[in-house]
């Protein structure tokens, strides 16, 4: 989270000389100390502040509808952590959310708004469902095959969005949205058409998969098992190290922060963008696999569970840092799951949980804008701002077609 406030936006005007060089003050030294000392508390305040404010606003909303906020939060807490089974529900929701977020982190690092992640989750689930329905293998062989199917499905669908962007100059937000609709359409077609249950035409879903294709769960009526948790944890670890410790990760970062400079430096931007899409799709596809064989055990129209869109919020809130994904995703999973208890206990609509999540994310982004202003007003001139500039900014500068003959 700490890096958020420190990103800069490419300055628009001419870069003019500042007296700093003349004075010979090594600016970076100042910066480094600042970051270690008071900066840490300041960063913390900037991160916690919006969350607290979000809670306050949600509390006010609760009071406005005549509900008891303390009870509401207690109910949500109990709904998420009341007992082992409920906790397992939170984890079962955390797994696909973490997978989606970790994929999105890659595309965000490359400066892409991969809205198409929903469709990529769906395609992963569709490919998984096909494998589950086609091969009558024992679980030891089938489950790896199911994950691979999900990876292929998600990656292929993401590559489509990537090709549309890099070759077709369709912005990934629009391409992604379109592909999401197509993916939903394909699911519906399969469920009502070729994969319908015998004698039934219903959009409610396909036949359950064979038990061999079910992810095993922990005993005692738990909703989650070791395999998907391991997949999610390993994915988080891999991406964490890939983004910070590899040349590939560094190149992606460069592209995300300034695609033009990256191109000038000699990075094959198009190839890396496609790679980022494909990898994100692979993780999204695995989220689809988990949804299909760990949660629903069949294909349903809304198989993505909205985890793709939720994943975007997770990445935004975690400040585009791999280390932040797991806890933030966990927070979101707990709020989502805990909020289902609201209508049960208090006749409150459970969309309150979504409201809370949305408010917090909006406030976090807002606070970063405010922080940028404050810091600019603090006049240290250079260290500009615009937290979000890095993921968004570059997209404004498209992969230049005429300058970038086929690689």
């Amino acid at each position: 989270m700490k890096a958020m406030g420190e990103r800069t936006e490419p300055s628009k005007g001419r870069v003019e000389e500042t007296p700093r060089t003349r004075e010979g003050v090594p600016a970076p030294a100042q910066e480094a100390t600042a970051r270690r000392g008071a900066g840490m508390w300041e960063n913390l305040a900037w991160s916690i502040g919006p969350i607290l404010l979000g809670l306050i606003l949600t509390t006010l909303a609760l009071l406005a509808v005549g509900a008891n906020p303390v009870r509401a939060y207690t109910v949500m807490w109990k709904g998420a952590f009341g007992n082992a089974a409920q906790f397992s529900n939170v984890v079962s929701s955390w797994v696909p959310l973490a997978l989606a977020s970790v994929g999105l982190l890659i595309t965000f690092t490359a400066g892409l708004w991969n809205i198409g992640i929903e469709g990529q989750i769906i395609m992963g689930a569709i490919f998984t469902a096909w494998t589950a329905r086609t091969f009558d293998w024992p679980a030891e062989a089938l489950i790896p095959a199911l994950f691979i199917s999900g990876i292929i499905g998600g990656a292929a669908w993401a590559l489509l969005a990537g090709v549309l962007k890099t070759y077709g100059h369709v912005h990934e937000i629009f391409g992604g949205l379109g592909l999401n609709f197509v993916a939903t359409g394909v699911t519906l077609y399969l469920i009502i058409g070729p994969w319908k249950r015998a004698g039934i035409a219903s959009t409610s879903g396909t036949e359950l998969f064979r038990p061999a294709a079910w992810l095993p769960t922990f005993p005692g009526g738990m909703a989650v098992g070791p395999i998907e948790i391991a997949v999610a944890v390993v994915s988080l670890v891999i991406v964490y190290f890939a983004l910070r410790g590899t040349l590939w990760g560094l190149k992606l970062k460069a592209i995300g922060k300034n695609i033009r400079s990256a191109y000038w430096i000699g990075i094959s931007t198009r190839l890396h963008l496609l790679g980022a899409f494909a990898l994100c799709g692979a993780f999204a596809g695995m989220a689809g696999t988990v949804q299909a064989i760990g949660v629903w055990h069949r294909l349903i129209p809304a198989i993505s569970g909205g985890y793709g869109y939720l994943g975007i919020l997770v990445v935004l809130l975690s400040g585009f840092q791999a280390a932040g994904l797991a806890p933030v995703a966990f927070f979101f999973a707990a709020v989502s799951k805990g909020s289902v208890a609201l209508p049960l206990d208090l006749q409150l609509d459970s969309s309150l949980g979504g409201v809370l999540q949305g408010i917090i994310v909006l406030l976090v982004i807002l606070s970063q804008g405010v922080r940028a202003r404050v810091q600019r007003a603090g006049a240290s001139a250079r260290i500009d701002s615009a937290v979000l500039a890095s993921p968004v900014g570059p997209t404004a500068a498209p992969v230049e077609a005429n300058e970038n003959p086929p690689l």
Partner: protein
């Protein structure tokens, strides 16, 4: 940088909206009228002999008896009376859970179940329920039945009624996973010993009302009213249940068309269109409003609704205001005509209350047995709230003459067995004989209806 923030904010907003799952109906933020403090303080005194008797010796099933046309409802009545009149004899306090697929106030299927839960609460002192509505992947993406079960169990609920065909698979899975909980899947058949899908679970029951009869009444009302001879049936998704209900409506319509209206059976057009789910899910199902409009545009002047919600009647009401003589029959909910009374011929509705009450009472007393119940009407008074599992509300738009025909001829005929529409020959849409001449369909044959019937148009069924 401003632009950047703007884009970010827009995307977040969009994502937040998507995540918040738009509620199709007013969110029940205000407590529903029936909510009362949890009745946890009911004294658990030893039940009196009378109450025990009432509870345990209550007729094996009031509805079963009704269905067998031996209207001995005395026992049921006695039981309910005992429960209501002597609160001190209440069984120990019990909270049961109800899971609804649609909004609790959908004026249709889900609301009928919600009313039944309240009926129990009112009739059985010490009882209360918690419910979760809108449990479907569109309203609550990511929320599984399994999670709801866990949540309800954590609140001490031991009996959970899942009130949709859509929950059947997950209910059975949950029953296997949670042997300490008892599940009722309303409209399912996994607990039917003689059915095709019997699972043999000790903690799973089913029940359903014999809506077929009331759909026959609905079909009759439609046939007697139509001027064009064209009736539309707005179907949900296609399965055994929806096929048999559509078929019943057609059988009723054909009988009244030929017998009372004395018209040529081939002049009766009965068209079935399926939207794909129990209610409208934008982008997933066909839009029932559009389908209903399509029916009327195509010359149907009566539409029989088979879905959980009231779009068909709403459309009919709008068109009546424009001066068109079109009508609709609603479904599921006793007050289903209220959306557009002047266009409403009637509502075949479920009266789940008595069966809910019996189930909860038995469960509380520890006498509940797994089983499958298919409850019929109380033919003495199909609209008796305490005895009849299904009923028919006559609509304002039904002419007095037609109402009289139904009330005085058709229903009594069905009650005494002189009108038996499931008697052969019954021919399926593909021309094959389903019920041979002279024999009557068994429960299994009716329940597992494979196709639409000859004379109906529309997609019959997807058999592989």
């Amino acid at each position: 940088m401003k632009k950047v923030l703007l884009i970010a904010a827009l995307v977040v907003l969009f994502a937040a909206l998507a995540a918040c799952s738009p509620a199709p109906t007013p969110a029940p933020t205000a407590a529903p009228p029936t909510t009362a403090p949890q009745a946890t303080t009911a004294p658990t005194t030893a039940p009196t002999a009378a109450a025990t008797k009432a509870a345990t010796t209550a007729p094996t099933s009031a509805a079963t008896t009704a269905a067998t046309k031996a209207p001995t409802t005395a026992a049921t009545t006695a039981a309910t009376t005992a429960a209501t009149s002597s609160p001190t004899t209440a069984t120990k306090s019990i909270t049961f859970g109800v899971v609804l697929v649609g909004p609790y106030n959908d004026h249709g299927w889900s609301e009928a179940n919600y009313i039944a839960a309240n009926y129990v609460k009112q009739k059985l002192p010490g009882s209360d329920f918690i419910y979760l509505d809108k449990l479907n992947p569109s309203d609550r993406p990511g929320t599984t039945l399994e999670q709801v079960v866990t949540d309800m169990a954590s609140k001490g609920v031991k009996l959970i009624l899942t009130t949709s065909d859509d929950f059947q698979t997950d209910t059975t899975t949950a029953a296997q996973k949670h042997p300490d909980l008892t599940f009722i899947n309303v409209s399912g058949d996994n607990a039917w010993k003689d059915g095709k899908n019997y699972k043999g679970l000790k903690n799973l029951g089913n029940f359903m009302g014999k809506m077929e009869y009331m759909k026959m009444v609905a079909g009759c009302a439609a046939a007697l009213t139509t001027q064009t001879g064209k009736i539309g049936f707005l179907g949900p998704l296609v399965n055994d249940e929806t096929r048999r209900l559509a078929d019943s409506a057609y059988l009723g319509a054909r009988y009244c068309w030929t017998t009372y209206a004395k018209k040529d059976p081939s002049a009766l057009k009965f068209d079935v269109k399926w939207i794909g789910y129990w209610f409208n899910i934008p982008g997933v199902t066909l839009d029932p409003t559009q389908v209903a409009n399509g029916f009327y545009d195509a010359g149907n002047d009566v539409v029989i609704s088979g879905i959980d919600t009231t779009e068909a009647l709403v459309v009919a009401g709008q068109r009546q205001k424009q001066g068109q003589k079109v009508y609709a029959l609603s479904y599921d909910y006793i007050n289903g005509c209220n959306e557009a009374p002047d266009a409403c011929l009637g509502v075949p509705y479920f009266n789940w209350g008595p069966r809910y009450l019996k189930t909860v009472r038995d469960f509380a007393a520890g006498t509940w047995q797994p089983g499958w119940y298919w409850d019929g009407p109380d033919w003495k008074d199909i609209n008796n709230p305490d005895t009849s599992a299904v009923g028919f509300t006559y609509g304002k738009a039904l002419s007095n003459a037609n109402k009289a025909t139904i009330q005085n001829q058709f229903i009594p005929g069905m009650a005494d067995g002189s009108i038996s529409l499931w008697k052969g020959p019954v021919t399926l849409q593909d021309g094959s004989t389903y019920i041979a001449a002279g024999s009557t369909a068994t429960d299994q044959q009716i329940w597992y209806m494979p196709q639409l019937l000859q004379g109906m148009t529309g997609a019959s069924a997807p058999t592989k």
